[in-house]
Subunit: 498 residues, 2 copies
């Protein structure tokens, strides 16, 4: 069976009415859809209104946009020639969107923008607290306005009308998904931590307040609790973990670290805060991937660092994968010690504003410095990530070497060098080919559902099978964390097994 | 099984969340409904928005308004204590509405008002013509404003808030139903006479533009073609004709005469214009039923006419049933001849403005006159009605005496005296107990569906079984009509059989 997008464009050649066939216009449309296998379709009044004129203008050869609404197919509009869809990753820090041509299933463009809620608080819990004190409306408006601006940008750049967007899928953590839907977040941070809704929500562009077609199908991924949001579920779908015969691991690193271990029989998720350091967000020189961003760093024969920039040009900053390489190179070159401290103020290491710092680059555009404090923050995030992973695996009783594949998404998903990550003790020391980068798995899963409505059932199934394991309550965590603050670890054997 | 209204109020005692039950609020509501047998319910985002607060205010003992939307049950609102419903008869001339308490199923009140579209044309075809020349918007607005005023009146008089109305059923002829939904009427009067929609439409208060709860379930009866509207289908449902073992007749007289003959195996409908005379609309003294309206007329021992007024008082006008009695009395007293002409200017018959007229009443409030021309118009309508009935029955091949019951609705449904109607040749000469008045069957059926959503399937079944018989094309009609212009008929035998 061919995949069916959440909204599809169908051309129908209907028999024109005659004295022997007086079927009404809407009934004729419904019967036409039935003949091609689309049963029990709903035609809303808003579509019947322009129908009679459109049918006669088009001499009963008409296009219909049909979409999934609940369990039922609905005619969203008629007389269209093009239809588009949008997959949205609602990140705490960044909003990412993909524009799809739903006639071909091809991606037209990808755009991202900062989540405007960041100005109300870098972490989502701060935003929830501000909401509880009367600023919910402001926070919701900031998010929806941000999404609408992103949609307007991507549509504008690609010559697509906002009302040509007939489907949108959105995946985000539980709190951001709640803001997106405009439902209460107040009870999420209070014991027993109850979301307003966990199930997937199928609604319309109008109901959410999006500047797309008002009847567009909007699908918001389900959550599996306050700490396991739709972004993780979307990522699991994208990784295929839920279909594996043997347990595999899926690590998504953003502001939080989310670790999923599972297979077709069971799925276990743990999550915890790691801070934005692994995304390059802590370093003053950190920046997201764009022209001039250093994405990887090597050491040449002379012992000097070599940079690889996105689209070449002058180095303008560094992203997460570059930072991992850099820390690894500084350590292997003996410039920093196991604790991440500079050994001596020599070579490119200088004292600057009372603090030791490494001069990564000096050019026409200015200087790029990495300070000792920034390295410390990075190591804290690295330690948190590895410790979560270690404690989680130990709780389940599976060793690092027993895992055939490590799917990596988020900050780890965009082409990090596993050698560097293992060298600094961020990832376990297993054969490097087991690390499989997935990119942005959250938007990947959102795109999959956009292009195949039948996957919504698979998503529900994933959500229902997830067990959440609280890790902050695990006493072993702090112990492992202390050692993981060093490069690669105070007990390097821990990287190989459990 | 208990009948279930289109919208019902349900009280749910939900288990409060705990550390061992972290079900989200919307999911908890859905599970609570499932436990009482309401499966696969949809909770729209607009209901999830206030849900978390309401659940905690009500300590998880909450009310939910659930309604049928398509094949699926939807939660329309939460936290209500009362819910109401409205049944609407969308007549060409009058709008009638019943207000129901949906908790008890009882009728609270009945109100009616003139259809404001009347100012654009007494008959619906004139209104369609004006629509085709750019006045559709005006005509639609007139109707919806009229309905909204009627709803505001009936709600206001009964202390009901507009947003407490969660269900509305509407039955009207095909054209008025189209105006109500806001869909095109342009193709209805043009061969091959194609409506925009025949199926029943289930939509919302918001979509139609009604001043009731925006998510209220609005059910508009299906049509069975351009000439057989939802009012007839609703009337058939109310009469029970579609369940009869042997064929019975159902006559609905308004501005049109609609004749339905059928049983559980088949249903045949014929319709034609009769003019408003049978409703009392042609006579200058005609008025709808209200205080002072003459509803029946007798002849006392002295040969004088005696009046029975609604709520007593001074005679102020006459309604359809009174007019039938009056014509019959004038004929049996020898005041008018078989052609409806006054025999002599004696007694209460005077020449007035160059025309013979009967002084029905003279009092403090003025004089009530019935002119010869008005009698002629009445006889034309009477003749049209009887001829339709006769030709229709003959086409089917069933005699008057073979019909065990004559259900009468509309102008005939409100207590006409069958003796008078038979005497003037308006109804066939069969045992009088076979005539069963149904009142306003259109609103009767609308009320039935409002109180029992399962009847929507029965309505669809009725609509699908209806065969329409074009009667204006029947050559025999004009022949019978000529004789029927006389009292009771030029060939009285025709009243007894076929």
């Amino acid at each position: 069976m061919k995949p069916e997008p959440l909204a599809s464009l169908i051309r129908l050649d209907l028999p024109p009415p005659s004295t022997s066939d007086k079927t009404a216009d809407a009934d004729r449309l419904i019967e036409g859809l039935k003949r091609i296998g689309i049963d029990d379709v709903n035609v809303p009044v808003g579509v019947i209104r322009p129908l009679s004129k459109q049918l006669r203008e088009d001499v009963f050869s008409i296009t219909a946009v049909v979409g999934l609404r609940g369990d039922r197919v609905e005619v969203l509009d008629i007389g269209r020639e093009r239809i588009f869809g949008i997959a949205l990753d609602l990140g705490s820090t960044n909003l990412v969107c993909l524009l799809y041509d739903l006639k071909t299933g091809e991606v037209c463009d990808r755009r991202e923008a900062e989540n405007p809620q960041v100005r109300y608080g870098a972490d989502v819990l701060t935003r929830v607290q501000r909401s509880m004190f009367g600023e919910y409306g402001l926070l919701r408006k900031a998010l929806i306005d941000g999404v609408n601006r992103l949609i307007a940008t991507i549509c504008g750049l690609n010559g697509v009308g906002a009302d040509e967007v007939f489907a949108l899928t959105a995946a985000g953590n539980t709190i951001i998904s709640h803001f997106f839907l405009g439902v209460d977040v107040d009870n999420i941070p209070l014991s027993p931590y109850i979301p307003a809704v966990n199930r997937s929500v199928v609604t319309s562009g109008h109901e959410v307040g999006l500047d797309i077609h008002p009847r567009a199908v909007v699908y918001v991924f389900p959550n599996a609790g306050s700490y396991v949001g739709g972004d993780i579920i979307s990522g699991i779908l994208f990784s295929g973990l839920h279909k594996e015969e043997n347990p595999v691991l899926f690590i998504d690193v953003g502001t939080n670290v989310e670790v999923t271990l599972g297979c077709r029989d069971w799925i276990m998720v743990g999550a915890g805060a790691a801070g934005p350091a692994l995304e390059g967000g802590v370093a003053g020189i950190g920046r997201t991937a764009s022209k001039g961003t250093i994405r990887s760093i090597g050491i040449d024969n002379s012992g000097s660092l070599t940079f690889d920039m996105i689209d070449g040009g002058e180095p303008a900053g560094i992203c997460g994968s570059g930072l991992i390489d850099l820390i690894s190179a500084l350590y292997s070159s003996g410039i920093i010690d196991r604790a991440g401290r500079f050994k001596a103020a020599e070579g490119r290491v200088f004292e600057r504003d009372g603090e030791m710092a490494y001069l990564l680059h000096k050019g026409g555009g200015g200087e790029l410095w990495l300070t000792e404090k920034e390295i410390g923050n990075f190591l804290l995030s690295k330690a948190a990530m590895f410790s979560f992973l270690y404690v989680f695996m130990r709780a389940v009783g599976i060793g690092f070497r027993d895992i055939p594949r490590y799917y990596m998404a988020g900050a780890l998903g965009c082409g990090i060098n596993p050698e560097s990550a293992v060298a600094i003790g961020m990832l376990p020391d297993v054969p490097r080919e087991r690390f499989v980068p997935l990119g942005n798995s959250s938007i990947g899963g959102a795109g999959m559902v956009l292009l195949d409505r039948r996957l919504t059932a698979e998503v529900e199934d994933i959500a229902s099978r997830i067990t959440y394991r609280e890790m902050n309550e695990d006493g072993a965590l702090m112990q492992v964390l202390q050692g993981a603050l060093f490069i690669p670890h105070t007990d390097p054997a821990i990287l190989k097994g459990l």
